[in-house]
């Protein structure tokens, strides 16, 4: 039952409505049982010569009342219990979403987005089916089953009753073993569903590449295979789950058959009466119906369990990055110190970044330059605690970054990443990070300092232009500038620009850099770039290569020193000269 922790908590929380629902269900069943007697009685009355029409009319009224009551109570329990199941569905989904918000990048690297979406809709639906219709049905069937068995025990010969119970062990065994199989094969079905969802998701997002390289046909063939997997899994699951009903029926027929022989002999011997024999058969048939529906419920439950297990797999994956116990909620100025940093991504052999000792004084600007894959982005990720280092090697204002709450830390460090992610919301929402109470002037100022204002104003709806997914309807450079505006508006004590101007033309780049210098005066700024001109003005420059610090110092000092920085500089200088010199 551990696996249903979430559901049980929900049920506990909604006890009144569940109890009321079940009560209504029982009342509805009870009212319905009144009907056959009433009808029989009425017909009996009418069968008499010169019957009393008034009493028939009264009975007809009762029949109508019963109809009304049945309707009312059935409607009530259905809306209560099935409505609760819907609520459960939405609550689990909200919980899942919140959980997703906590999980760290290392989790998302292992999973595909499409697979994860399947949890939110498909698996949660299966759980709902279990706790809505299936639960309601099971209460009904159990009650019916137990009531019939008890009436039988009290009215029919005990030997015959024993005969009735013979199928039960087999039925239960069948339910358990087939149920197990159903669960396993349903897991496969859900997994193939997730795979399909994953393929479609990747296909849609990568559609430009697929089209550009004429990959439609092979991609479709690949998808066909995945979809075939789903077909196979479903066929297998149904072929297993559809055995249960017939098996239960067969078990009962064995009981019927035995009764024909044994009960028949007993009637012939005169041990029991024909009436008892008939009653027995009737009861057996009466028990069979609810047991059959319990079989169906077992199927649904096993599906729910399979999906719940999948969901629990997500819920149990703990966020790797979270607030440490004594994490503090104090603001910082942005003095960054790096001590004995050595960071390795999971499942990789080599450290992605190693820094012995480095300090970025509060309010200073640091430039980082380095070859491809030298660990620049990694440093930014570490400062923001997208990943954690083993020892406390990053200090902010003297305190390890893990000593701050994630909220303070991330509220205090802005990042414009290499490939900025924009939401499919309005430009305003993107620039303000959904803080819709930011003033128009602030927004416009941030946009104008990132040289985006002009482009925005050209759009008919200006700041309220809706962006497509990932900002598809902007050019690459416009996306980067919106992201910069977003960072400028947040105005954090520390700002990291990770190659954030790579898609911006040089004229605009120079202007933006100048604005940055102005707006970031007195605040810690880290500029990652491949271009010397972008970092040359920085107070200090860090030169990285292959995860190692190769040089540090100001532009002048580094030029003096020679080495990688000088090489890069010379190369760019030479390019410049070559460019300016006509061929």
């Amino acid at each position: 039952m551990v696996r249903f922790r979430i559901v049980l908590a929900f049920i506990r929380q909604h006890k009144p409505s569940y109890l009321f629902g079940i009560l209504c269900m029982l009342v509805a069943s009870w009212v319905q049982t009144l009907f056959p007697n009433l009808l029989g009685g009425t017909i009996d009355i009418m069968g008499e010569q010169g019957f009393n029409a008034a009493s028939v009319r009264r009975n007809i009224l009762f029949i109508l009342l019963i109809a009304l009551a049945t309707f009312g109570f059935t409607w009530l329990w259905r809306t209560m219990i099935i409505g609760n199941a819907r609520k459960l569905e939405c609550e689990i989904r909200a919980k899942l979403f919140r959980h997703f918000l906590l999980l760290s990048p290392s989790f998302y690297q292992k999973k595909k987005t499409g697979d994860l979406i399947a949890f939110a809709i498909n698996d949660i639906s299966a759980v709902r089916m279990t706790f809505g219709p299936a639960t309601a049905m099971s209460v009904n069937s159990l009650v019916l089953c137990i009531v019939s068995i008890f009436t039988m025990i009290s009215t029919v010969d005990s030997r015959l009753t024993l005969l009735t119970l013979i199928p039960f062990p087999f039925v239960i065994w069948a339910m358990l073993s087939i149920g197990n199989q159903v669960r396993k094969s349903f897991l496969k079905v859900q997994e193939s569903f997730a795979a399909i969802s994953g393929k479609v998701n990747e296909g849609i997002h990568g559609v430009r590449v697929l089209k550009a390289y004429v990959q439609e046909a092979p991609t479709l063939a690949d998808f066909r295979e995945t979809s075939n997997g789903m077909v196979e899994a479903s066929v297998k699951m149904v072929s297993v789950s559809s055995i249960l009903g017939p098996v239960i029926e067969l078990c009962f027929s064995l009981s019927f058959g035995l009764n024909l022989i044994l009960g028949g002999r007993m009637v012939l011997d005169g041990t029991i009466t024909v009436g008892a024999f008939v009653a027995f058969n009737t009861y057996l048939a009466m028990i069979m119906a609810p047991v059959l529906s319990i079989g169906r419920i077992v199927n649904l439950f096993q599906r729910g369990i399979a999906s719940m297990d999948r969901l629990n797999g997500v819920f149990l994956s703990e966020p790797e990055i979270r607030d440490r116990p004594h994490a503090r909620d104090i603001s910082f100025q942005g003095h960054i110190a790096i001590r004995n940093l050595s960071f390795r991504y999971k499942d990789t052999a080599k450290a992605a970044l190693e820094i012995q000792d480095f300090t970025i004084p509060a309010g200073s600007t640091l430039g980082i330059i380095g070859l491809t894959a030298s660990g620049k982005t990694t440093l930014a990720n570490l400062l923001l605690r997208a990943y954690d280092t083993e020892n406390d090697s990053l200090l902010l204002d003297g305190l390890p970054i893990t000593g701050y709450t994630l909220e303070t830390l991330r509220n205090g460090i802005g990042l414009v990443s290499q490939e900025p992610f924009l939401f499919s919301a309005t430009i305003r929402e993107n620039i303000t990070s959904f803080q819709l109470d930011r003033s128009e002037e602030e927004i416009r100022e941030a946009a104008s300092d990132s040289f985006m204002l002009e482009s925005i104003e050209e759009m008919t709806e200006g700041l309220d232009t809706l962006l497509g997914e990932r900002g598809i309807n902007l050019s690459g450079g416009q996306r980067q500038r919106v992201a910069i505006a977003r960072a400028l508006l947040r105005d954090t004590p520390v700002l990291i620009l990770d190659d954030a101007l790579s898609a911006v033309d040089t004229v605009t780049e120079a202007h933006i850099l100048e604005n940055l210098r102005r707006r970031r005066k007195g605040k810690t700024t880290i500029l990652i770039s491949h271009r010397i001109s972008a970092v040359a003005d920085a107070d200090n420059i860090l030169v990285l290569n292959d995860g190692q610090v190769v040089q540090t110092g100001t532009h002048e000092a580094l030029l003096q020193e020679g080495g990688l920085y000088r090489e890069i500089n010379d190369e760019q200088e030479e390019n410049r000269h070559r460019l300016l010199r006509a061929r």
């Binding site: 089209k211 491809t372 890069i568």
Partner: protein, 650 residues
């Protein structure tokens, strides 16, 4: 195989469907940003005031105008058309059902024989006519019944799965062939729902509804026939409630449907919201916008919850309602009987028989009432799916058009005007020619329209005015597959698939080792591959999230070269790559681009210095062109870019 499928469809289906296309479903649930930058926002004035509302909350489901019988019958017909190839299986399944029913009827008869003949009649038992053989027969009949039940369920399931497998593949095929302008405007999450959840619901229609519905309808017909043969008058009385029921069902039908439409709309949006949030999770976390996202999500989830609650209420109404009608029918029968029976016009036995008929009759009716929702749900899903499939006429047909097995690579733009949205021209009267084997470079400020030019060359978008020609043939008339095989692009936004590095470079194509080697070397991806533990077979995660941005660019670069194109398009292909690697790439590229036409976009002008032609763009126009030297002499915008770019360091 696919192409023939396509063609068949266009022959038969497109003309009929085209007329519906204007209000078609696929477009209906457009992405909020769909009308691009053009649409006037009517309530934008309320934005900065007291109650700011996030854009997520503004997008309400739009119930289609054509909502109703017309589209519905279209979907219903389409659903039946899809099942036609599997009719055999369905008929077999119905046969199984008849056998199962026979078994169900046989069992009480056997019991009756035992009781009447042996237990009461005390007839002698001899041979097969005995208690034991009756018992065995009983068990055998049940076994048969069970077997055929199993068979029926599996037959229907197989057929249903096969149908939706085909449908699912068709949907995915449609998605892959949708033109980019359409995809730009539609949320991917909602497209995904079409291929996943909507298809599943349609599957349930086939597996759970069709055959059982047939069974119910057969039963109802049988019972009605039995009733009418017994007494026409009583039958009419008993069935008098049916029209009332029909009216009732008809009355709430639209509500149910509309509600399902809303439900599915929100499920699609939830899907999209999840998809977007998951892929932007790191940004969400570093920006600390979790709360805002959660709020928007809660809004969607709550809206969805409201629709489901309505659905539960409506659904809870129909089934008990049919029970109520059963009782009302019986009450009416009895009331009618009062006069008749006392007047001796009606034997009580017939009255009794009719009450049990009514009960039997309402069994399947209540079953149908229960399924009514599944049917409506499936139909709404079908509307959505077929609405997407109805986009057929606008789909890209990669295999149609003038074939081009080989290309010299001459590219010409003739007075091209282009806009993504209405009259918002992004390219204004652009004309240029690039001769085969030449290297042309495009420079200019962001948003000038450089990427747009590349998009037009590959035929992703079509120019509104003017012509784009490859080797003198308009690209719009070219066979798209051939065009795109001749032109390989390195996109500004790199996209890597999950798989391996090799998969990402070769994609699904056979690439010779030699070519692969050249590609790796020319893109400098070879040193990257060398450092990886598994080399080319190193796994790549979704979007290449474990590689550095520069590494991703190298891979996508290698991909283009490995496809050995006549025209190589590089859109800021080295923007995230360091200067030294870039130089190495350039040296290697000289080999590769020697006899190919190359179009490149770069902000670092050193990259394009060697280009034969440089086009300087501004606001969608080519303002200067020439080679580097001539542009330098011209002392225009190019020079100013240059001076900024390689501004001597202070």
């Amino acid at each position: 195989m696919k192409s023939t499928m396509n063609r068949k469809k266009t022959d038969t289906g497109s003309s009929v469907r085209a007329e519906k296309n204007s209000g078609s479903f696929g477009l209906m649930e457009k992405h909020p940003g769909s009308s691009g930058l053009m649409k006037k926002n009517h309530d934008s004035s309320g934005h900065t005031e007291k109650h700011p509302v996030s854009s997520v909350m503004k997008d309400k489901p739009t119930i289609p105008q054509t909502f109703g019988s017309e589209v519905k019958s279209h979907s219903l017909r389409a659903l039946f058309r899809l099942s036609r190839p599997w009719m055999g299986k369905f008929i077999l399944a119905v046969g199984c059902i008849l056998l199962v029913n026979a078994a169900t009827l046989l069992k009480p008869w056997l019991l009756k024989v035992v009781i009447d003949d042996f237990l009461i009649g005390r007839k002698p038992q001899n041979g097969l006519y005995s208690l034991v053989s009756m018992a065995i027969l009983y068990i055998a009949v049940s076994l048969m019944g069970g077997l055929f039940t199993w068979l029926q369920v599996n037959l229907v399931n197989r057929a249903g799965q096969a149908i939706i497998h085909n449908l699912r593949c068709k949907v995915f095929e449609t998605i892959l062939h949708l033109p980019l302008p359409w995809l730009d405007k539609n949320s991917s999450g909602r497209l995904i729902t079409r291929a996943t959840n909507d298809i599943s619901e349609i599957g349930e229609f086939y597996t759970d509804v069709t055959v059982n519905m047939m069974k119910d309808i057969l039963l109802i017909i049988g019972i009605i026939a039995a009733m009418f043969t017994m007494s026409i008058r009583l039958s009419l009385v008993s069935l008098a409630v049916i029209p009332v029921m029909a009216v009732l069902v008809w009355l709430i039908k639209n509500r149910i449907r509309r509600n399902f439409f809303g439900m599915k709309h929100y499920i699609g949006r939830i899907n999209g919201f999840f998809a977007e949030s998951l892929s932007g999770m790191q940004t969400i976390q570093t920006l600390r916008v979790e709360e805002a996202r959660d709020k928007d999500f809660t809004h969607l989830n709550d809206e969805y919850f409201k629709t489901t609650l309505t659905q539960v209420r409506l659904n809870s109404f129909l089934k008990p309602a049919s029970d109520v009608f059963q009782n009302i029918a019986i009450a009416m029968l009895l009331a009618y009987g009062i006069g008749q029976v006392s007047g001796e016009g009606l034997p009580i036995g017939i009255l009794y028989a009719f009450t049990s008929y009514i009960k039997q009759f309402f069994g399947p009716i209540s079953d149908l009432a229960d399924k009514y929702n599944s049917i409506q749900s499936a139909l709404v899903s079908a509307d959505r799916v077929f609405g997407l499939l109805d986009e057929e006429p606008i789909l890209e047909k990669p295999d149609e058009g003038t074939p081009m097995p080989d290309a010299a690579g001459r590219i010409e733009f003739r007075h091209v005007w282009f806009s993504y949205a209405e009259e918002d021209w992004v390219l204004k009267d652009v004309s240029f020619t690039v001769e085969p084997g030449q290297t042309a470079a495009f420079v200019g400020e962001t948003g000038a329209g450089k990427t747009t030019i590349m998009n037009l060359v590959s035929g992703f978008y079509l120019a509104q005015k003017g012509e784009v020609l490859l080797d003198g043939i308009p690209v719009s008339t070219l066979k798209k597959a051939d065009l795109r095989r001749r032109v390989a692009s390195v996109f500004q936004d790199v996209f890597l698939f999950s798989g391996t590095i090799r998969d990402n470079i070769t994609l699904h194509d056979d690439t010779s080792d030699e070519l692969l080697d050249t590609a790796l070397r020319a893109s400098c991806a070879d040193s990257l591959v060398e450092h990886l533990a598994k080399g080319l077979d190193e796994p790549v995660t979704e979007r290449g999230s474990t590689l550095s941005a520069g590494q991703r660019q190298l891979v996508s670069f290698a991909r283009a070269i490995a496809h050995d194109p006549a025209v190589l398009v590089m859109d800021e292909a080295t923007a995230n790559i360091d200067t030294q690697t870039e130089r190495l790439i350039q040296e290697a590229l000289l080999q590769v681009t020697r006899n190919r036409t190359t179009l490149m976009i770069a902000h670092r002008l050193s990259t394009i210095r060697h280009a034969d032609r440089i086009f300087v763009m501004r606001h969608g126009e080519i303002v200067e062109s020439g080679n580097h030297d001539s542009l330098l002499k011209h002392k225009g915008y190019y020079l100013s870019l240059l001076e900024e770019c390689e501004e001597p360091v202070a």
